[in-house]
Symmetry: C2
Subunit: 202 residues, 2 copies
């Protein structure tokens, strides 16, 4: 069976960088946003819509009705959201069949749970996350620290909702992970050999 590493992460904690570097070091395939493109090519849904759903913009505006009558109400938007998730889960499974891989986000730890992935969760304190966001590029430049902090918390709140909606588990609960890695005041690159070594401890 192929080796799989899944990465859950707080926004700004360097989880994607850790994933990319792990994949490079181990010679594993790496997936994150590529999944979105893959989904959009395989369904009739527009790239923009898929991105909105995957980025958790719309999945939670649809209440799930518990119908009393024989006819369950059908909510087309909800159905479409679920279709995206199912398609995504199918694609994750296909990827895991193809080769060893590192998958960042996308509830991969849950979707692929039967294959016993090495499940990592990456986190850091707020100061460290603010710094990483500012170092990453111009997107954060126009924001004050307070605004950036709110953005970080907001994105993680959406991630939590998304994760909890599809998995029925609390987000960031350490029991759902094999290893939780604090990247506060660390150099991600230097952690890679140690994290990779955990694959051998299984």
């Amino acid at each position: 069976m192929n080796q799989i590493i899944t990465i859950g992460r707080e926004f700004g904690s360097g989880g994607r960088e850790l994933g990319r570097r792990l994949a490079e070091t181990l010679g594993f395939a790496y997936y994150d946003q590529e999944i979105v493109g893959e989904i959009s090519r395989r369904t009739a849904l527009s790239q923009q819509y898929v991105r909105a759903v995957v980025e958790h913009q719309s999945a939670f505006s649809f209440p799930i009705h518990i119908g009393r009558s024989f006819y369950m109400p059908v909510n087309p938007a909800f159905e479409q959201t679920m279709a995206v998730y199912r398609e995504e889960a199918r694609i994750l499974t296909e990827m895991a069949d193809q080769s060893d891989c590192v998958i960042v986000g996308r509830c991969a730890d849950y979707v692929l749970r039967d294959r016993r992935p090495l499940r990592l969760f990456v986190y850091a304190n707020m100061e460290s996350k603010l710094r990483r966001c500012r170092e990453k590029g111009p997107a954060a430049e126009s924001l004050t620290d307070k605004e950036l902090r709110q953005k970080i918390l907001g994105i993680d709140k959406k991630r939590a909702k998304y994760y909890e909606f599809y998995t029925g588990r609390p987000w960031a609960d350490k029991l759902n992970f094999d290893l939780c890695i604090n990247t506060t005041e660390t150099v991600i690159k230097e952690m890679v050999p140690a994290v990779a070594k955990f694959l051998q401890a299984r």
Copy 2:
């Protein structure tokens, strides 16, 4: 500066075993219950009293009074409890001065925080903790699963109170650790090389 690894752990998660094996592998000194003996030899308090305090039996039966009057009430038992903690903290510092070491429990992550220890937290799901307790020895034999589960939860509750009392921080909060390690369905021995490698990532 000497290298220090501190280990917080849930009862039954194998944290002590991990600590001992890490110390052996790395050639570090190892401390846990030894600290109690050391304290008792250095103070006038009886071994039994020290053990009771360190095992969190008594530290929390003493309410801290906020006096309105100029005279703060003095609670001799509380003073004695604090004296044990202060002595313990002094000894931990002395140990960290002497050599590289692994210290299990005793709020060492907090006491030695200025020395930047590698702070580990070891945890597992309840089934795994029950199994480890049963494998460890006869102490659990006479207990039903329900009783053993209650014992495990009770011990961790005391640890949490003890930790929170002396550090002012929530117990088992992943932000207080560099690495949280889930030992569910793992062989502790096989994790040691990977955990040891994290020392190099700093």
